[in-house]
Structure formats: C-alpha cells, structure tokens
Amino acid sequence: MKATVYVTIKQNVLDVQGTAVQGALHTMGFEEVGKVRIGKYLELDLDTTDKAEAEARVKAMCEKLLANTVIEDYRYELA
C-alpha cells in the first residue's frame, strides 16, 4: 500500500517562503497569483494490505515526526 502525505504550514502561521515566491511571481508578471503556500509532499511505501491499520499508523507517523503540529497541518491519502 502507498501513503501520500501532504504537510503545510498552518493558515494562521506566516509562510515566509510562500510570501517570497509570491513576490517573485508578481515581478514576473503573474499578477493573478494571490497567496502562495509552500509545503511538503511525502510518498511512503507501506508493507501492509490492511487499510485501517495503515491509516492508524500513518496518522501516528504524522503526529510524531512528519509534521510539527505546533506550526503545520497534514493530510494523507492511502492507495
């Protein structure tokens, strides 16, 4: 089974990288760009076929290591 994890900076926390990229896009003429948020994309290969078990374990991985929940949100997909 494969897990895809997305980690993003919380909406109420300033994403300084996103702000810098937004500025660059505006300079390049892409004025339509509003807010830019930069996050992380992780692919995990899981040695299991039990979706419920995989979900519980991926959630634990996110809470403990993959995201810092003080400043980041996460979501994941299992396939």
């Binding site: 926390v13 300033l14 300084v16 810098a20 992380k40 290591l65 993959l66 810092n68 003080v70 400043i71």
Partner: protein, 231 residues
C-alpha cells in the same frame, strides 16, 4: 560539576561549547554521541548548534528521536540543567521540552551578527550572574530563529516569566514573536535560545557577555549542592 556536550551528525558548535566550559569555568566536560542512552553522570547537558541530521524534514525533527534525547528528557525531569543553543533550541522545541517552534526568519536572510539581548529573567540557573533588564551582546547565526507559539502559550510564557532573553526593542532580527530570543520551561531548568553565548566568552571574540551564563550555572549548582563558592 560534570558537563555533557551532545553531538549529532551535523552538529557544528559542539567544540565551541566544550571550549567555553573549559575556558570559563574549567569544569569536567565530555562529548556525548547521539547513540548514548545514559546521561546519569552529568549535571548539565548542552545541546549545541549546527544542522543535526542536515536539518532534514525540519530543524531538530530527526534529532529528537535519538537515544540520547530520551536520556535528556529523563534528565530534564530529574531537574538537571539543560541548555539548547540555536539548533539545540530547535531540538528542544521539537522534543516538546520547550513550547513553540522556530520558523524561517521573516526577512529571507540568514542572520549572522552580534545581537543585543535584554535579560528578562535572571532567576534561572543560567542567568543568575546577570542583572534583570541588563543588556548583553551575544552573536546570532541562524536562518530559522523566528520563534512562534500560539496566543495561549505566549500568555503562559509571559505570566510564568519563561521569557529569559528578548532582542532589544527595535532590533528583532528574525520576526520572533514578542522579540523572544530565549525561553525556559516552567521549572526553569531547561533553557533554549537562538543566540550563541559560547561564542561570546572573550573580548577578543567581540564580547565576553556569554561567560556569565556558564558562571551562573556553576554558581547555582554549587549553591544547591553546598559546595565551595565559585573562584
């Protein structure tokens, strides 16, 4: 008094910390590799700056799960003195020994220069040789030192006097909330700070203001253990 300086793959201020202990207070000090799981012989543990585990994933994220950090959590519970500097501060927040997190600097710059700090709390084991409100000159060198926590946590930090150092008003180098440069836990035995006191122990280095952090630790420990006063 026995000091440990932790070493993770990617630590690079470990030698500075070791030399600072030797030069300022002349106490026994040892490097402790991240695989060690027993810190029982040490009275104070320094978590140095650098880029532990290459700053992969997040600064300090991977270091928090090393064997030695489990021992640090135990040492913190026992009331031993723990000081995290720069990446060490990031490791201590990731390990939840200190609240909040360190975000990227708000000005897109790696800030590397002398900084003026105000000693906000001189009642910690790390700051007792400073006067409250004293301005000291300590260098900073970081790209991710923008301290952040939620409002409730900030209120708690303020009310419990857990803000140990602030950047002097108007000189905040990284966007840190409430100008926070360093904080302690509720018990006061764990301190994390972005500035580097170990790099400010001689005038020839630009400042000797960091020296008193180390003399404070030794004085407090000796007072507590009824040993002779510091030389």
């Amino acid at each position: 008094m026995n000091f440990a300086v932790l070493v993770f793959p990617g630590s690079n201020c470990d030698i500075d910390c070791y030399k600072a202990i030797e030069d300022t207070i002349g106490q026994p000090v040892e490097y402790v590799w991240h695989t060690a799981d027993d810190l029982s012989k040490y009275d104070c543990i320094l978590v140095p700056g650098g880029f532990s585990y290459g700053d992969y994933l997040r600064c300090g994220a991977i270091a928090q799960f090393t064997n030695v950090m489990k021992a640090v959590v135990k040492a913190a519970e026992e009331g031993k003195y723990i000081l995290g500097v720069c990446n060490g501060f990031q490791v201590l927040t990731e390990a939840r020994l200190l609240p909040g997190a360190l975000l990227r600097n708000n000005g897109m710059k790696f800030r590397c220069h002398q900084a003026v700090l105000r000693v906000e709390n001189n009642a910690t084991p790390f700051t007792s040789d400073y006067a409250e409100g004293e301005l000291i000159n300590i260098p900073i060198a970081h790209g991710e030192g923008n301290y952040y926590c939620d409002e409730a946590t900030l209120k708690e930090l303020q009310e419990n006097k857990q803000i140990v150092f602030r950047y002097e008003a108007g000189s905040n180098p990284n966007g840190a909330l409430d100008d926070i440069a360093g904080i302690c836990n509720k018990a006061g035995n764990v301190v994390g700070m972005m500035p580097h006191p170990e790099r400010a122990i001689h005038e020839i280095l630009g400042s000797a203001d960091g020296k008193r952090m180390f003399t404070s630790i030794l004085s407090t420990w000796r007072e507590k253990h009824g040993a002779a006063a510091i030389r």
